[in-house]
Each structure stands twice: as structure tokens, then as C-alpha cells.
């Protein structure tokens, strides 16, 4: 079990590239931005 784990760790290290895909939901993303901005204004 332990050796399998270390094997998979070694294999993971050999993976040289990373692909990332991200998606954001803009109506709510903009609302969060607004919330953050309002809280900042209220704070100071």
C-alpha cells in the first residue's frame, strides 16, 4: 500500500504540464464585486 502511494507520488512528479480550465458566472461574480465594494465603503 505504502509503496503504491510512493509510486503514484513519483509518477505525479513526472507530470510536467498543467492544464487549467475555469468558468465564472458573471451575474453573480459582478454581484460579489459590488458586495465587496459596498463593505469597503461602509468600513472606512
Amino acid at each position: 500500500m505504502e509503496s503504491e502511494k510512493s509510486k503514484s507520488k513519483i509518477l505525479d512528479k513526472q507530470k510536467r504540464f498543467h492544464i487549467g480550465i475555469s468558468a465564472e458566472y458573471l451575474p453573480y461574480y459582478n454581484k460579489i464585486k459590488e458586495i465587496v465594494e459596498t463593505e469597503r465603503k461602509n468600513y472606512f
Partner: protein
């Protein structure tokens, strides 16, 4: 006459007792009903069922839709299995704004394979509503997978736009702007991140 009077009083008492018992049973049933409604509502609220579901009609990733709660995403994409809570730094995107960072939460799903590769999906929530997801794939080589993924994204979201002023750590970066969404794809060398 006297015994008849006693009989009448006894019957009257029996009737009163019956009425009291009836009222008691009704009150008990009412309490059970109210208790049942309260427990049922708490269960629905806790698990985001029925009118406590927050998901919209707009598709996000796999079977999930935007604004779904963590429970709904787990039911939709992970067959009810637990999604692992992870630390997130996404509140930093809005600096120098101020917000209680506990309003953000991030959960990962690692039991998925996309395009034949082991994939880690991160779901990011604000106030327990899904607003972003990230797909992470680690590779040995840049073989045909890049083309396959770009073809799939182009088919879904239309023609890609290359981001020219990308970070120096990225090999390439593309974006799409479908309705109400911002989609990004990037590839980097692992040791450069």
C-alpha cells in the same frame, strides 16, 4: 330518584372526560404535526431540497447549474458523495475590497476522469452559491490532448480568443465569452507555477 341522580352525574362526568380526552388527542396530534413540519422544514433547508434549492436554470459543469449550493452540486455531480473542503484564496481577486472571507468556500472532486485523464475539479461558492469552477489536469506530455480540449471548448462556446498579454508562466492562454460566463483555458509547465 337519588340513584338516578347519581347515574346522571356519572354519565355527565364520562361525557366530560371523553371530551377532555378527545381534546388531548387532538392537541397531541397537532403537536406531532407541527413538530413534523418543523423537523421536515429543517431537513429540507439543511440539504437544500425543494424551495430551499438555490440553483438557477443555467448549466454550469456536468449536471450542476450556477448558484447551486454545495449540497446540490454534490447530488448533481458526485452521486451524493462528499466533496472535500479546500482552502481558497479567491477572495484575493477582489482586493483591496473587504469582505468576510468565510463567505467563500471551495470544494474539490477528485473521482472524475476527463478526456482519459485524472481530473481535479474545484467548485467555488460565495454564500453557498456556485459562481466558479476550475478543472485541473496534470500531464506527462503535451500530446493531442490540448487539441482535443480546445476543440471541445470551441464546439461548446464558439471560436477561442488568444490572450496575448498572458502571464510569463503560461505557455498559452485562451478565453471565451458565452452568455453570462467567462471561460478561460491555460497550459503551463508545472515547475513554473
Amino acid at each position: 330518584m337519588h340513584s338516578l341522580g347519581n347515574y346522571g352525574t356519572l354519565t355527565f362526568r364520562k361525557q366530560v372526560m371523553k371530551k377532555i380526552l378527545k381534546i388531548f388527542v387532538y392537541v397531541l396530534l397537532g403537536l406531532f404535526l407541527i413538530g413534523g413540519i418543523l423537523v421536515g422544514t429543517a431537513y429540507l433547508r439543511q440539504n437544500n431540497y425543494l424551495f430551499f434549492a438555490t440553483g438557477s436554470n443555467e448549466k454550469a459543469f456536468l449536471n450542476s447549474t450556477w448558484l447551486m449550493s454545495r449540497n446540490e452540486v454534490a447530488r448533481a455531480n458526485a452521486n451524493d458523495s462528499f466533496l472535500n473542503k479546500t482552502e481558497t484564496n479567491f477572495y484575493r481577486f477582489f482586493e483591496p475590497g473587504i469582505v468576510n472571507k468565510n463567505r467563500y468556500s471551495s470544494y474539490t472532486q477528485e473521482d472524475l476522469s476527463l478526456w482519459g485523464y485524472q481530473t481535479k475539479i474545484e467548485y467555488i461558492f460565495f454564500d453557498d452559491k456556485l459562481y466558479q469552477y476550475r478543472i485541473n489536469i496534470d500531464l506527462y506530455d503535451r500530446d493531442t490532448i490540448e487539441k482535443t480540449i480546445l476543440n471541445a471548448l470551441n464546439e461548446k462556446y464558439g471560436k477561442q480568443t488568444e490572450i496575448k498579454d498572458k502571464s510569463k508562466y503560461l505557455i498559452s492562454e485562451y478565453k471565451w465569452n458565452p452568455k453570462n460566463q467567462k471561460v478561460r483555458y491555460w497550459i503551463s509547465k508545472k515547475d513554473s507555477i
